[in-house]
């Protein structure tokens, strides 16, 4: 697919989006005209309707739908759903966008159906997104942008964007940003890349990112480093996915050795979350691998005395993963790793490596790990 292909297909996708919204509204009007209570059918987003697709390697929505019929209890969200669809349609038409927060504020002009809390407007937005995703339409097609921008990027990467005024191409060389970094925008659909990197290193903490960037780790290691800042935002996930897909780069994750790091940060990046299964097909990165810190690293790198005991929450989270998480259950290596951690009873932060010196991570740990990517957890 070339850039001009993309341009064509983008306008087709816009047509598809508008048609979808009009079709739903027309159906509601038809119901009313026939003297029936109008209904909107929406995919069920609750966990019961989420399936882990082993082949694709991520969580997906199942086929269940809920029917939102206009009654006392639903009157408000029924009206809100329709008004938000109308908003989306207008934005597609004018090629504009609104962040989730902007949508919430825009609703303040919707009289009685204004949202009182942003969680409400987010939920309705999710419903509409889910409907669109079933038709293969990503959220950005609806012109709803996430509030958070993506993480920072540095390393052997040139991002190819365009000047929105002139259409002229713009290239950003992420190896020439000094101690600063490239800040991923809220929507990345239109980006292209050029790189000679051998892999992408996705890093949990901002502090570690700054350390690797200040010491230009990416230069010697031949990679792109991306700051996730805890659980990665949607923009970050989509960026990594696009970059990895287009440039055929492996993605290595460098996060804390604790159940939160495994099952929340890494697992979200790789297979998505059950709560937002309707967007996983666009966001998750099935090709990601877990570089560390692993429970075995604690042994191999002598970190034992820089660990902390597992909290009750940690233990619960780990046991829950072993019992219920289809991703973990599909991977014996993960089962073994989590069991190992439970039997050790401790967790380690990325910072634990600092016990051997603040830059031990650059000089020893990462080179040693990267010499054997086959050993990474799946």
């Amino acid at each position: 697919m070339t850039q001009s292909d993309s341009k064509t297909s983008r306008s087709e996708l816009d047509q598809k989006t508008i048609a979808l919204i009009e079709q739903i509204a027309a159906q509601v009007r038809a119901n009313i005209d026939h003297g029936r209570l109008p209904e909107i059918s929406l995919p069920v987003r609750s966990l019961e309707n989420v399936i882990y697709d082993l082949a694709k390697g991520y969580f997906e929505l199942g086929g269940a739908h809920k029917t939102r019929t206009l009654t006392t209890n639903t009157a408000r969200s029924f009206a809100q759903t329709l008004r938000m669809m109308a908003l989306s349609r207008t934005m597609v038409e004018h090629d504009d966008f609104a962040t989730k927060r902007e949508v919430y504020y825009i609703s303040k002009n919707w009289g009685d159906c204004r949202f009182d809390e942003q969680v409400e407007s987010d939920a309705v937005m999710d419903d509409i997104e889910a409907s669109a995703s079933v038709e293969g339409l990503a959220r950005e097609q609806l012109r709803f942008y996430p509030e958070a921008h993506g993480g920072s990027v540095a390393g052997r990467l040139t991002v190819i964007d365009r000047n929105s005024a002139t259409g002229e191409t713009v290239e950003i060389d992420c190896s020439r940003l000094g101690s600063g970094a490239y800040s991923i925008p809220r929507s990345v659909e239109h980006l292209w890349f050029r790189t000679d990197a051998r892999f992408i290193l996705a890093i949990e903490t901002g502090g570690m990112f700054q350390r690797l960037n200040n010491h230009r780790f990416w230069e010697t290691a031949g990679c792109i480093i991306i700051e996730m800042g805890g659980v990665p935002t949607r923009a970050t996930r989509r960026f990594i996915r696009l970059l990895s897909d287009n440039e055929k780069l492996p993605v290595y994750c460098f996060v804390d050795c604790d159940p939160y790091g495994f099952t929340n940060i890494y697992r979200t990046l790789k297979v998505g979350s059950g709560n937002a299964a309707h967007v996983n097909r666009f966001l998750c990165v099935p090709q990601a691998r877990f570089l560390g810190v692993t429970p075995q690293d604690i042994v191999d790198f002598g970190l034992r005395d820089a660990t902390h005991p597992l909290s009750a929450t940690d233990v619960k989270r780990a046991e829950d993963a072993l019992e219920n998480d289809p991703f973990v259950k599909a991977h014996p290596a993960w089962i073994a790793a989590i069991k190992q951690q439970l039997s050790m009873g401790v967790r380690a932060e990325q910072q634990a490596l600092a016990k051997w010196g603040l830059n031990y991570v650059i000089k020893e740990y990462l080179p040693k790990k990267l010499s054997n990517p086959e050993s990474f957890l799946p």
Binding site: I21, E22, A64
Partner: protein
């Protein structure tokens, strides 16, 4: 030490223990004195079949109080006056089983004794018997050492009343307002005695009138014999010794109520089986030995006997109670129940319960014929401030025994216990653990009995015998079911009202959205929304229309 042992007069005893009779504090003493005099007046009128008309007058000057109670009763013959007012444990009601207010022959003499103790003044009595030309006037005090009356002055005089009694007492007293006031006592008395008219003049000189709401006298209760159930062995032996009957059969039939010849014979037959000695219907009661009496006692408890006679108790009645309540309490919902009579320890009793619920802020929802709803205007704050609880308060209890309001010692009373032990949460009220329910409500409980078991001689609370507790609780549950129904209906109506208002808010918004998406004209939009409104209205009036949010379907 033996020579110092001595007999103690009952008057001396109660003089020292006067808190037992309700004369603990000046404030309480004042109410107790009024109560004793009014009770006596009402009982006297009842016995004589007179519609009672009572005047109460209270004055209070720096703790020196004067109470005057005057009735239109039958009057008292002169040679009884002194003993009735000047001797404890003297009366007409103790030895019979019959429902009455006073029963221990103690109250009015005790009030006199208290006045005498605190002010040194005797009682002043005027009484005229119907038909007599003149009235008797007497000043009486009690010789406590001997428990007998001391008559100070006595004379005959003209009195403008054709018949009646007037008693005036001076005592250390303290007049107060609120739930333990003379006025509250009289108001409650009026509720439980709709045939009574009271004129009350308080210490400020204000006159308050409680009118009668019926001219019909309550039925007169019959005097009865004890019911055999619940009679104790010792009492049975005593009765066997004291009877005038000469055969066991005669004894059983004569001395008990509800025991006919057939029942008596079954009892004797059963007793014979348990007894090792001869026992027949012709056995002489006085010759029955202890072991035989035990067998007889056992036989009585296991033989089927008719329930106690009910004509010995006269309840206020559901209609009258309701009339009395509506007259004195401003509430939105009333319910009342008169339970069938029951018995404890062989004593018949009967329980009446009423609830009066004042919906907070008033405002019931009304539905008109066209299906439209509106809220009724808010009710004014009720004047019955001390009789009905506020929204966040424990319910008020209006306790009555034989139509007499009980104002003190609520916590120890069977009525309070029964209310607390009832699970009001099951009926939609809030109830802290082990406490009265919280609701804008009054609970009236009336226990009528031939012998009310008070917890003390001051007659302030009813002993919580299991049988009495049970009856009160059954009555409460019955009333509570009605209340729960009322509350559910009210809640339902309010919800329905709110739902209608709610949904209508969102129709214009749906219109705007459809217009934007489908680029409708304003007319098209309004037409669509009008149709939607109609559809909703139709589906709403159908019963069982789904209020429920969303249907889930599996689409494989």
């Amino acid at each position: 030490m033996a020579h110092r042992q001595r007999e103690i007069s009952i008057s001396e005893f109660f003089l020292k223990n006067r808190h037992l009779l309700g004369f603990d504090t000046p404030a309480k003493a004042l109410v107790t004195a009024v109560r004793e005099a009014v009770d006596n007046a009402l009982d006297a009128c009842k016995e004589a079949g007179i519609l009672p008309e009572i005047t109460v007058e209270v004055s209070d000057r720096y703790g020196k109080s004067k109470v005057i109670v005057e009735d239109n009763g039958p009057g008292i013959v002169e040679d009884q006056i002194a003993r009735i007012f000047g001797k404890l444990l003297y009366g007409s009601k103790f030895h019979k089983l019959s429902q009455s207010r006073g029963q221990q022959g103690m109250g009015i003499s005790a009030a006199g004794m208290y006045g005498q103790l605190t002010m040194g003044k005797p009682l002043h009595i005027v009484s005229r018997v119907k038909g007599d030309k003149l009235a008797s006037e007497m000043y009486v005090s009690i010789d406590t050492g001997k428990n007998r009356p001391d008559i100070h002055k006595k004379k005959q005089l003209r009195w403008d009343r054709p018949h009646g009694t007037r008693v005036a007492m001076e005592m250390e007293g303290h007049h107060q307002t609120g739930p333990h006031s003379v006025e509250t006592y009289l108001k409650q008395t009026a509720i439980a005695n709709p045939h009574l008219a009271i004129t009350y003049q308080n210490p400020k000189g204000e006159v308050i009138r409680f009118n009668r709401s019926t001219n019909t006298l309550p039925k007169r209760p019959f005097e009865i014999k004890p019911h055999p159930y619940g009679i104790e062995l010792g009492r049975l032996i005593q009765m066997l010794n004291n009877t005038n009957s000469r055969t066991l059969l005669g004894f059983l039939v004569d001395e008990f109520s509800c025991v006919g010849k057939k029942t008596a014979l079954s009892i004797i037959a059963l007793a014979r089986k348990h007894s090792d000695r001869e026992l027949s219907e012709r056995s002489h009661p006085k010759h029955i030995a202890h072991a035989q009496a035990t067998a007889l006692h056992k036989a009585i408890q296991t033989t089927r006997v008719l329930a106690p006679r009910t004509d010995c108790i006269v309840p206020i009645g559901e209609d009258q109670l309701l009339t009395g309540l509506r007259k004195e309490l401003a509430a939105d919902f009333f319910t009342v129940v008169t339970r069938p009579p029951a018995a404890y320890r062989g004593n018949p009793f009967q329980v009446e319960i009423a609830l009066a619920y004042a919906r907070p802020g008033g405002g019931d929802v009304e539905v008109d014929a066209g299906g439209h709803m509106r809220k009724r205007a808010t009710r004014d704050e009720p004047a019955s401030e001390h009789l009905i609880a506020q929204k966040d308060e424990p319910v008020r209890l209006l306790r009555f025994a034989n139509r007499v309001p009980l104002l003190y010692q609520q916590a120890g009373c069977a009525i309070a216990k029964a209310v607390i032990q009832t699970n009001w949460r099951g009926y939609g009220l809030h109830q802290p653990k082990g406490s009265l329910p919280i609701a804008p409500m009054a609970i009236l409980v009336h226990v009528a009995s031939v012998w009310v078991p008070y917890t003390s001689e001051s007659k302030e609370a009813i002993e919580p015998y299991p049988e009495i507790l049970k009856e009160i609780k059954l009555g409460l549950q019955q009333c509570a079911r009605g209340l729960a129904q009322y509350l559910r209906r009210e809640t339902h109506l309010h919800e329905e009202y709110d739902r209608r208002v709610y949904i209508e808010k969102y129709l214009p918004q749906i219109g705007i959205a459809l217009q934007e998406i489908l680029t409708l004209s304003d007319e098209e939009r309004d037409l669509t929304i009008k149709k939607l409104d109609d559809t909703l209205h139709r589906s709403r009036t159908k019963r069982g229309a789904p209020h429920d949010a969303e249907r889930f379907e599996d689409q494989p």
